[in-house]
């Protein structure tokens, strides 16, 4: 399976019924394709809407209806729009049950870096710092390594997005949970051994008993 699809299908199992969720751009956006049967989630886009849907048919695009990346979307029945202050009251005020964000690095304490690489890439933090500060649960969805280098490191070498540790890290190899005792290896990807995960991880992992294989959400027909 494509590693990005695997990550998105595992993250989808973290969705809870009747909650508000914000998906970051890139990989996290894929999670919306795998919402489990019987679960109803409202997705927020921080540019000012709850309850958006797939892009409209060709020629039906509305220049006033876009996602945070500026792409055309549709609005589902019951959707609501609002200004940037309200959008970030929802985010910072603890009204968001969960956010899923991409990552450049996560360290042994569960801190995330995802907004700049000094001297190379300076896109800016956009809403990421507010999301990590304010969402009830912060889930990082990222590849376990980049160009052979571990992205899960003993200590961040990139500027942190927030001091607060994230709730869960889902990669193409493993599911990791930052705990006060350390980074707990909760699950392995299908067909991946604990030794392979340890070898691909820069930070020390907490391994307790048998590590189960990760479940993934079924791909829906639509």
């Amino acid at each position: 399976m494509d590693p990005r699809e695997l990550i998105a299908r595992r993250v989808a199992l973290e969705l809870r019924d009747r909650t508000l969720v914000n998906l970051g751009i890139g990989l996290p956006t894929l999670v919306a394709r795998y919402v489990p049967e019987g679960i109803s989630v409202a997705f927020q886009s921080e540019n000012g809407i709850i309850g958006f849907g797939a892009p409209p048919p060709n020629g039906m695009e509305d220049p006033n209806l876009t996602d945070a990346g500026g792409g055309f979307i549709s609005a589902l029945p019951g959707s609501v729009s609002f200004d940037s202050c309200v959008s970030f009251m929802l985010i910072r005020g603890g009204h968001l049950a969960m956010t899923v964000l991409g990552g450049l690095q996560v360290d042994a304490e569960g801190r995330l870096a995802n907004w700049m690489v000094p001297g190379k890439l300076v896109p800016g933090m956009g809403g990421a710092m507010d999301l990590v500060s304010g969402a009830q649960r912060v889930i990082v969805a990222m590849q376990h390594a980049a160009r052979g280098q571990p992205k899960i490191v003993p200590e961040l070498t990139l500027p942190p997005t927030a001091a607060r540790p994230v709730s869960l890290v889902v990669t193409d190899l493993a599911v990791l949970e930052p705990t006060p005792q350390g980074l707990l290896l909760r699950e392995r990807a299908p067909g991946v051994s604990v030794d392979e995960i340890v070898a691909a991880t820069g930070a020390e992992l907490l391994i307790v008993g048998d590590v189960p294989e990760m479940p993934i959400a079924v791909a829906r027909a639509d």
Partner: protein, 217 residues
């Protein structure tokens, strides 16, 4: 009741070196006609305050392309390689600000507050040089109010009294910026008679708007 002004006139009101807040998120809900007129006027030395610098040729990206901007206070420049290039070349200063903090700093200025306390940015480079204040055991950054000389807004409708409405995700920073500048200039998709917009639908009271740009003829 006031008369609308041309976008050229609006651009003449904004002197070189001014600070301008602009509505828009990736160019959606941005005052494009005023931007076009500023480019045509050859404006220089502007400080722009908004969510992002959109893309080259889009929204405020037109001002960046044309060399009108020396400083940008924004949350994101990742979608505009021209901004990044000019930042590296030292032609534009970029102050990156978390998006929610940007909105609340503008709101503080518009609401007469001395600043806001936010947990966003604690323990990051955003906290450098800022006061950290502990309230009930939690740490917050003191973020100061952010005002501008001009706010340039894009609305859906305006009536003759400049009461404004917005549409969907084109709303974004427009309503809050209407409170936080010395001179507020709006352009609207539609200009309608007084009474057409129901009172509950008005998002920006016309008393805040100094000038409305006329519709293209």
């Amino acid at each position: 009741m006031r008369h609308a002004i041309s976008s050229q006139k609006a651009a003449e009101l904004i002197p070189d070196g001014a600070s301008i807040m602009f509505g828009g998120f990736m160019g959606v809900g941005s005052p494009d006609r005023i931007f076009d007129a500023l480019v045509a006027r050859g404006a220089r030395g502007l400080t722009v305050i908004g969510n992002d610098t959109a893309r080259p040729g889009v929204g405020v990206g037109k001002l960046i392309d044309a060399g009108c901007v020396v400083r940008a206070i924004v949350s994101h420049i990742g979608t505009n390689p021209v901004t990044q290039k000019k930042m590296i070349a030292g032609e534009i200063d970029v102050d990156l600000t978390p998006q929610g903090t940007l909105a609340e700093r503008i709101r503080a200025a518009g609401a007469g507050l001395g600043g806001i306390l936010t947990p966003t940015g604690v323990g990051t480079v955003v906290a450098e040089g800022k006061q950290v204040i502990e309230v009930e055991g939690r740490q917050y950054l003191l973020e100061l109010p952010l005002r501008a000389d001009f706010a340039l807004l894009h609305a859906h409708e305006s009536d003759y009294n400049c009461n404004l409405t917005y549409r969907l995700t084109a709303t974004n920073f427009n309503p809050v910026m209407a409170f936080a500048a010395d001179c507020v200039i709006a352009e609207a998709n539609e200009i309608v008679p007084v009474g057409v917009i129901p009172p509950d639908a008005v998002r920006t009271p016309g008393v805040l708007v100094h000038h409305l740009v006329e519709r293209p003829q």
